[in-house]
């Protein structure tokens, strides 16, 4: 399978569709609209990159996710703000003294999963907001090894969590109760099937085929692995700013892939091409 760069939008600047200082997280909703979080704002774009609406967040957003009801969850330092699809703040989640920097949000089985980069774990909360368990806290290193400062994960359709563990050059799979189900990945600075540098992959997402899409830093690139961890393709290398790192990813139901270039503050949209694209 292959991808082509279809579009770039956003970027650094003061125009309504641009970001001033930071672009941290991207997420797509059921309608294929892209929600991008940066600075202290959520910007909603249609698939063509046209800005539909935007609203302010209470703190700088670190991550974004859209639940089945279309509500937009924005991870921040110590809290998550929840907005209606129109941008009205309807709720928030805090866990004082426990929850740190929320660098990813996910949903599964009625529970909410928050990546806590301060603790270096993923925290699982029930629908009532109570903490059910942590994921990754049994790690010998005390949590995921994240020299980049970001824990990123995705929940697949089967409810399995895929977590990037960049310091160990791995993607790890966990059940919601924190049981390690498997892993793939190894260091390699030459073979693209491996993860290069000190600490990759930094971010990931999972498409509806169970394929794991990862982003790397130095030099920044995006790759796709099958559910067993076999490299399928390198989506893009040389497309992003060399200084970009922690590039968040989102994929819609058609396989259209969005990557947040954290240096240029652009959102790069890639479309799958070829027969295997929707296999």
């Amino acid at each position: 399978m292959e991808y082509r760069l279809a579009q770039r939008f956003g970027g650094r600047g003061f125009a309504p569709h641009q970001f001033r200082q930071a672009l941290r997280g991207v997420a797509v909703d059921g309608g294929g609209r892209l929600h991008a979080v940066g600075d202290s704002v959520v910007k909603v774009f249609d698939p063509d990159g046209t800005l539909l609406r935007q609203w302010a967040t209470g703190q700088p957003g670190e991550s974004a996710a859209v639940d089945d009801e279309g509500r937009v969850w924005v991870g921040q330092d110590g809290q998550v703000e929840i907005f209606s699809p129109e941008g009205e703040r309807v709720d928030s989640r805090r866990d004082p003294g426990r929850l740190g920097l929320v660098t990813a949000v996910g949903f599964g089985g009625g529970d909410v999963f928050l990546a806590d980069a301060t603790a270096r774990w993923v925290r699982r909360y029930g629908s009532d907001g109570s903490l059910l368990n942590n994921i990754g806290d049994q790690h010998r290193k005390g949590g995921f090894h994240i020299p980049n400062g970001v824990v990123d994960f995705a929940v697949d359709d089967g409810g399995v969590l895929h977590v990037a563990n960049p310091g160990m050059h791995r993607v790890e799979r966990y059940s919601p109760d924190g049981t390690l189900l498997g892993r793939f990945g190894r260091f390699d600075g030459q073979d693209p099937a491996g993860f290069p540098g000190c600490c990759n992959p930094t971010n990931l997402t999972v498409d509806d085929q169970g394929r794991v899409i990862v982003s790397e830093k130095a030099g920044p690139r995006v790759k796709v692995y099958d559910p067993d961890g076999e490299l399928l393709t390198v989506v893009a290398a040389g497309v992003f700013d060399p200084g970009a790192k922690n590039m968040d990813l989102a994929v819609d139901a058609h396989g259209r892939l969005y990557v947040a270039d954290t240096a240029t503050l652009e959102i790069c949209a890639f479309e799958p091409t070829g027969r295997e694209a929707t296999a």
Partner: protein, 193 residues
């Protein structure tokens, strides 16, 4: 009965006092200048090896090659609190070199093997990736070439390694050869304020 001073006398005293104070200040300033310690230092925001945003540049080794000492007075320093203690450190390993049977890169960055790598904490002997590692620079070997500094820089690393002048060996030359050769004017000797 107190003596009355004329206006002329008052102004004269004031002028003499002001002149004396000025002369004292000038003397003090000259004394400070004469006895001040001017120290050569490296401005990390200018040095091409450590300056953020300078990605994909060639290493500058002038700190190692231009010093009049046989072993430069410049050393690399790893600030441990900023170090990620990575399994694969890009400042230690040549990360684009071939991977050996142990899963590690086969080549190192430092041409003088001045960086020491040691697993720390509760060590997992079965899974080396499952350990933290401490990277210590042997200052008897380091010549300040800056290669590790460049490789440690963001975004590849965390920028925990920087170059410093070791003042116990620096000769404090008035016309420092490194400063004259530095293409970024990063090697300077700021005057004390």
């Amino acid at each position: 009965m107190s003596k009355k001073h004329t206006r002329r006398e008052v102004l004269g005293h004031a002028a003499r006092g002001t002149a004396l104070a000025g002369l004292g200040g000038l003397t003090g300033l000259l004394w400070m200048k004469a006895n001040a310690t001017f120290a050569w230092s490296i401005n990390a925001q200018r040095c091409i090896n450590s300056r953020l945003g300078a990605v994909g540049v060639e290493v500058c080794e002038r700190c190692a090659t231009e010093c009049v000492l046989s072993l430069s007075a410049v050393r690399a320093v790893n600030e441990f609190k900023a170090c990620g203690r990575c399994y694969i450190c890009p400042a230690y390993f040549q990360i684009t070199s071939a991977v050996g049977s142990d899963g590690l890169p086969t080549e190192k960055v430092c041409p003088r093997d001045a960086i020491k790598r040691e697993a720390i904490g509760w060590i997992d002997p079965d899974d080396p990736a499952n350990n933290f590692y401490e990277y210590t620079i042997d200052e008897t070997l380091c010549n300040g070439c800056g290669r590790c500094v460049l490789e440690c820089k963001e975004p590849a690393g965390l920028g925990s390694i920087r170059l410093e002048v070791r003042h116990d060996t620096c000769l404090d030359c008035n016309r420092c050869a490194i400063a004259q050769a530095c293409p970024e004017d990063a090697f300077d000797r700021p005057e004390p304020t």
